[in-house]
């Protein structure tokens, strides 16, 4: 199948309701470049591919047909130098370019328009990214981003690792979603080995995954409250977040749940008795609900979020926006519901309420609903685990070859790992974080918003740069 034929196929499948979930390239041992696309379909992720002729310098770009491929094709160009012909803007994305490329190019012309380079070292304790804000002083007619500063060469590092070592790197690919990344990676290995984690392990995985979601959503609440100057709210949510992280560290000796997920299951049950975890979470859930209700009744706060950074529902659908950003715009894709894994295949995952506003406020509402859902899911997990006091936690998972994809619903949205093994070693591992897929949408949500809205919009996206510039 040539690239052209594959793109036509993808285009028609997306039109029919499948979701474009990513595109990446792999250099085959014979030197030819293989392009692989992921499509999310009910129940799973389809992988489609085409191989370019050896020494091909380019191929017809997908982006003109499917806008969501915009960053993916730039990433491929960065890594492999192959040119997607017809791509609208082939600037470096994830690899630092030459010094000339650091010059400020402006996209908007007009009286008094100037560019504020904001980053990579920004005020506050934040990850390194540079926003190029084009502004006549207040409005933001155009925003550009440079992600490449903290590129760490993660994909290359995977190559040659043993499958067991790969988990350690997956945990550090996007550190604030360590559990989700480790899970997606392990799901790919388990699919290759044809094994399934035992039920108790599947439950423990869900427990850590939901705690990670709660911590991440609380982090967004901290950042939004801080941006609005609500000192008490900032402190309250920071306190709750710290309590969640401390609970996780008491459960597994890591505040980020590292070391829990292993291929074939989990390394151990929580070190804290389930009854104690449930009691602590009941207290936390009540405290968070009270503060969240107060926050959502603070009009000076809501005024800053309402109508801020809106993503139109049809754009959310076209792009296949993931996680809270998609859900806030009425595009409600949730891997736990639509492509269930681990314990979610039998736990009743509550369905999310429908939102259509697509603004920062809707994104926060989605997060509060998800926090609530997570607490309820953990209750189900706790009940279920109590009935399996001495179950097996791990099965042998020792795949040696083949290729498979694994996925999870991270707090930021769906994470996909595409893993290829050869003779018991990783030949290629491509992680696709929700942060990478969603961050490109920042380009288009500044309609009518001004400089002081920037921190709200950025925080409401809730993404991690580490997961973008791998």
């Amino acid at each position: 199948m040539t690239a052209e034929v594959l793109w036509k196929d993808i285009e028609s499948r997306v039109a029919a309701g499948d979701r474009f979930a990513g595109l990446f390239a792999t250099r085959r041992p014979d030197g030819a470049l293989m392009l692989s696309a992921h499509l999310a379909v009910p129940g799973g992720i389809d992988t489609l591919g085409t191989t370019l002729p050896v020494a091909a310098s380019g191929y017809p770009a997908l982006t003109p047909r499917l806008g969501a491929a915009f960053w993916y094709e730039r990433e491929i160009h960065d890594h492999f130098g192959v040119i997607p012909e017809g791509h609208p803007r082939l600037a470096p994305l994830v690899l630092p370019g030459s010094p000339e490329e650091h010059a400020l190019t402006r996209h908007v012309a007009g009286y008094g328009v100037f560019t504020i380079p904001h980053g990579p070292v920004r005020s506050g304790v934040l990850e390194s990214i540079e926003y190029l804000v084009e502004t006549p002083g207040e409005a933001i007619p155009h925003l550009n981003m440079r992600l490449f500063y903290k590129h760490r060469g993660i994909e290359n590092r995977y190559e040659g690792m043993t499958p067991a070592e790969g988990v350690l790197l997956a945990e550090r690919t996007e550190g604030i979603a360590s559990v989700a990344h480790a899970l997606a990676y392990c799901h790919a290995l388990e699919r290759l080995a044809g094994c399934e984690p035992p039920p108790a392990a599947a439950l423990v995985r869900a427990l850590y995954g939901e705690l990670e979601r709660i911590a991440n959503h609380l982090d967004v609440a901290v950042r939004l409250s801080d941006a609005a100057g609500l000192a008490v709210a900032t402190a309250r949510f920071a306190l709750h977040k710290e309590r969640v992280l401390r609970l996780v560290s008491r459960m597994c000796d890591s505040r980020f749940g590292r070391g829990v997920v292993v291929p074939g299951g989990v390394s151990a049950r929580p070190l804290v008795p389930m009854a104690e975890i449930s009691a602590e979470l009941a207290r936390l859930s009540q405290a968070i609900a009270g503060d969240a209700a107060a926050l959502m009744a603070t009009s000076s706060f809501l005024d800053r979020l309402r109508g801020t950074g809106p993503l139109a529902p049809d754009r959310a659908r076209q792009h296949g926006a993931l996680g809270p950003i998609g859900k806030a715009g009425g595009f409600s894709d949730d891997a736990r519901l639509h492509r269930p894994y681990d314990a979610y295949s039998w736990l009743a995952v509550p369905r999310a309420r429908a939102h259509t506003a697509g603004d920062a406020l809707a994104r926060l509402r989605v997060r509060w609903e998800e926090v609530d859902q997570s607490f309820r899911l953990i209750e189900l997990v706790a009940d279920d685990l109590a009935e399996r006091p001495s179950d097996l936690l791990r099965v042998t998972c020792d795949p040696t070859g083949g290729r498979a994809a694994g996925w999870t619903e991270a707090p930021q949205g769906e994470v996909i790992y595409d893993v290829t093994l050869r003779s018991g070693r990783i030949a290629r591992c491509h992680p696709r974080s929700a942060s990478f897929h969603n961050l490109v949408l920042m380009h288009e949500v500044f309609a009518g918003d001004i400089l002081t809205d920037f921190p709200f919009i950025e925080a409401s996206f809730g993404l991690s740069v580490a997961g973008v510039a791998l």
Binding site: L95, P96, P120, V121, R122, S123, G124, V125, L126, E127, S128, F148, Y149, K150, H151, R152, G153, I154, N156, R157, M161, E165, L168, L169, R172, T173, E174, G175, I176, S178, D219, V222, L230, V232, A233, A235, R236, A238, L239, K241, E242, L245, R246, S249, D253, S254, R255, F256, R258, G259, A287, G290, D291, A294, A297, T298, S464, A466, G467, A469
Partner: protein
């Protein structure tokens, strides 16, 4: 607004009293691995970051995966406690435990030099953070210091946006080559005296991503590091401890100190 005043009173004082009083959470922290027996016979491949090397474990490379503890509990054990003079080092080689002979002397000399530089900073310290290729978790742990539980303001430590106002440069991440120029420029913009902390195993050695086309082996390749803090990521108490050691509010700085 009165609503928030009342909510702010709900949990009473949640702030730790450390360092004036011990803190149970800090003391129970599971830190990097230490060697409890001769490691000469151990297959170096047991450690994914090559932290096992004579005469023991280089904690600056330890990512706390626990492979060695699970495989050889007779030779390796977890360290406990996120604070104290041994939880951060004033010399890179002091992160190797048990210590190499000469280390004690070198640490003592480093301590004297650092104390001379930072005597003026003790009561009011301004910190500039730079992410040089972190996985994002280190930033969470540093942000936690600003929250009500750690509340570093009570110790006279403040974060500042401008490197021109900063006394301490707190660097996280593996040393991404793309960040080298920005990190260097931030360091050079700081007035003397300045202190650099490499926060986390990634910043100390590069961790799993050490020394590639895209990374250096930690941030010391770009800026001169004064305080070395292992951990993947280091917990808030560990970072706080390193900050106080950096400005001489706490004595410390060598694994050899205890």
């Amino acid at each position: 607004m009165s609503l928030w005043v009342l909510r702010g009173l709900r949990d009473g004082v949640v702030t730790t009293r450390w360092p004036r009083r011990p803190d149970e959470y800090a003391d129970s922290w599971r830190g990097p691995v230490r060697a409890v027996g001769p490691v000469g016979s151990v297959d170096p491949a047991l450690c994914p970051t090559g932290a096992i090397r004579e005469p023991g474990v280089d904690q600056g490379r330890c990512i706390l995966c626990g492979r060695c503890v699970a495989e050889r509990p007779d030779l390796f054990a977890w360290s406990r406690g996120a604070t104290g003079p041994t939880a951060a080092a004033l010399r890179r080689e002091a992160l190797v435990v048990p210590k190499v002979p000469e280390t004690d002397e070198a640490v003592a000399a480093a301590r004297v030099r650092l104390a001379a530089r930072t005597a003026a900073l003790r009561r009011s310290v301004h910190v500039r953070h730079v992410d040089a290729g972190s996985d994002g978790s280190e930033e969470w742990e540093i942000q936690a210091l600003l929250g009500p539980v750690y509340d570093i303001g009570r110790l006279g430590v403040f974060f500042t946006a401008s490197p021109r106002h900063a006394d301490v440069l707190l660097v996280t991440g593996v040393g991404a080559r793309g960040m080298a120029a920005s990190l260097r420029a931030t360091y050079e913009a700081m007035p003397d005296p300045r202190v650099v902390i490499a926060a986390g195993t990634d910043a100390v050695s590069g961790g799993l991503l050490s020394d590639s086309d895209q990374t250096t082996a930690g941030v010391a390749a770009t800026v001169p590091v004064d305080v070395w803090l292992a951990g993947s990521p280091p917990p808030p108490f560990g970072i706080l401890n390193a900050l106080l050691i950096a400005v001489g509010q706490l004595a410390g700085g060598g694994k050899g100190a205890r």
